[in-house]
Amino acid sequence: MGDFFTVSVLVATLASGIRLATPFLLAGLGETIGQRSGVLNLGVEGVMLLGAFTAYYVTLETDSPTLGILAAIMVGLMMGLVYAFITLVMQAEQGISGIGIYLFGLGFTDLLFQKNVGTPIPISGLGDIHIPLLSDIPKIGEIFFQHSLPVYVAFALVPVVWFMINKTTFGLNIRAVGETPEAADTLGVSVNGTRLITILIANTMACLAGAALALEVGIFQQNLTAGQGFIAIALVYFGAWRSYGVMLGALLFGVVQATVLQWKTLGIVEGAAASLAAMAPALLTIVVLVIVSRRVAAPSALTRPFDRSG
């Protein structure tokens, strides 16, 4: 255990935790915005996969990660339109629709990968950006200021999302259509218009999360996200539908994962104990979810389609 508490290992563990938290955070923030407006999307995982494959494939073909990210954003917007059509126009049950989107993303990305790429070919990712001056601060710089662009974007979006939801008219509309859509409608707020925008944002951020993952590891393979989209949804509940709460959950999840990895690497936990330790992040999430569900209520209109005719 002593080896773990050396400065270099602790620094590496925290930096790893931040990297691991990034896809959760990006997808979780998007899903927070969607859920605050009353729209649940269980298909985050599938949309992340679509974003991951798009970013990977475009980068592979063009050697430009920037184009990869832009393409992933476009796919996110397209998936947003699809999901808006399903949930707002067709008013389908959101849980089932989301699962459909997930399965679509899982199957379709595998199909595209097999047909267009086949053998996993590494791509050059975005590379780390060392923030001038800050990255030079001993230890702190290494933990916080030597990451790739999506990491900075994800954490910068936390206050932005908080501000948008709590301090802007649009945020007020989001909260209104997520709690009492009928009342919002009588006040002249376009319920479905507001939800359309939140769905577009949520899907775009899920795609960005997938793109961040693919560009971080520099590869794509079937089911690359390995359940991260579902964890992101859980973290929205964990964070009580607040951006800072989601960030806290994502960080906790990422850092615990990184710590367990380090413990295994150093042989601090082995065998069955290591497998138990690997479950720690999920167990922690369940415990907090139980606590949160008793204290904080979900948006009242979550999963409820809005039909003006009643």
């Binding site: 389908a92 595998d110 590869i219």
Partner: protein, 359 residues
């Protein structure tokens, strides 16, 4: 209200249609249900129907049909590809027809594919994953006329229509370990594994033994990430090794593509297994232990032709040429290290070097 219900049902149906289309993700050739030739049964019936007119020549002209069910993509540069490449090599000398269902990491999906191949009259149905062993026992009972193969496994469950196949993966692991111990300057070597079972454990145990035999001062840190598919965890595990001073890395299973990315980024030598992994890093891959399953596949096909559908276990190793070390010329391995590797392979084959068989 009615209208909204109708819309809901219509949209759900549309979503499922979309999903169904998407999930048919592989080739037509990959789909057991879509495989056109169901003629095997008809062909089997034919001699009985017209024994005098068509003597025994026609059935022999039929290619043997092999169906493979694998948990990851057939071109994963690891586990599944090792079987795919091997079957292709078998096809160079035999008339065979091959169908593959890759990417079936969900066991229930794999079970459906295994049954599909059996129902379609395939001569040999390969369940390429230890995790398929449980359901395979039931499937084998339902199709006593079909030969199945399960790997890696040393147990054919007492069934006379299941062949078991496995690999002495510790042998190549040992050779890689011997080389790794000579390449490390920090005396710290990192290993990324999936779960401590099957050929992954054999490989890693062999690697550790080889490294320690070559260089007793070498510290080999093993990290089983408890996942065969989590690429990001594999990547972070490799970074954790690097943070702890590792300057040589290895790993096994399909998620290692995450770890090889880190090795490439850091310029750290990588030792591969299962398939030739040079494509994952032309500058950093030193060598790969490559599985030649065709050695046991040929034996299985011979036995099937002779009427034996199972009840036997096979192992590939250096001795029977089922394992081979392939080296990456682009790495520039020192000649003395290469010589020590060749000597180790010879020693293992001759039995003068003993590789731990795992627990």
């Amino acid at each position: 209200m009615k209208a909204s219900k109708t819309r809901a049902i219509a949209s759900a149906a549309a979503a499922f249609a979309l999903v169904t289309t998407a999930c048919g993700s592989d080739d037509a050739a990959d789909e057991p249900a879509a495989e056109p030739p169901v003629e095997t049964e008809a062909a089997a019936d034919e001699p009985a129907a017209e024994p005098a007119a068509e003597p025994a020549a026609e059935p022999a002209a039929e290619p043997m049909k092999i169906g493979i069910v694998a948990p990851s993509a057939e071109n994963d540069l690891a586990w599944s590809q090792s079987m795919f490449d091997s079957v292709n090599r078998v096809g160079e000398g035999r008339d065979i027809e091959v169908a593959i269902s890759g990417g079936l990491f969900v066991v229930e999906d794999a079970v459906a594919a295994l049954r599909g191949y059996a129902e379609d009259g395939f001569d040999l149905v390969i369940a390429h994953g230890t995790q398929f062993g449980g359901p395979l026992q039931e499937i084998a009972d339902d199709f006593p006329e079909v030969a199945f193969a399960l790997g890696t496994s040393t147990d054919f469950f007492g069934k006379d229509n299941i062949f078991a196949y496995s690999v002495d993966a510790g042998q190549g692991g040992y050779v890689n370990g011997v080389m790794a111990a000579q390449l490390t300057a920090s005396n710290v070597i990192g290993v990324v594994g999936p779960v401590p079972a099957g050929d992954a454990k054999l490989y890693i145990d062999g690697f550790v033994a080889g490294a320690e035999a070559q260089n007793p001062d070498a510290e080999v840190n093993v990290n089983y990430i408890d996942s065969f598919g989590d690429v990001q965890l594999a990547s972070e595990a490799a970074k954790a090794h690097v943070a702890n001073g590792a300057d040589v890395l290895t790993g096994t299973a399909q998620m290692v593509v995450g770890a090889t990315g880190v090795a490439a980024e850091e310029g750290i030598p990588w030792f591969g297994t299962q398939s030739n992994q040079t494509d994952l890093g032309a500058d950093i891959v030193v060598s790969s232990q490559v599985y030649h399953w065709e050695i046991v596949l040929e034996q299985m096909l011979d036995k099937i032709t002779a009427g034996t559908l199972g009840g036997e276990a096979f192992v590939i190793s250096f001795e029977n040429m089922g394992l081979e070390m392939e080296y990456n010329d682009g790495f520039g391995l020192d000649a003395s290290v290469r010589e020590s590797a060749d000597a180790t392979v010879a020693g293992i084959s001759e039995g003068t070097i003993e590789v731990p068989a795992g627990e």
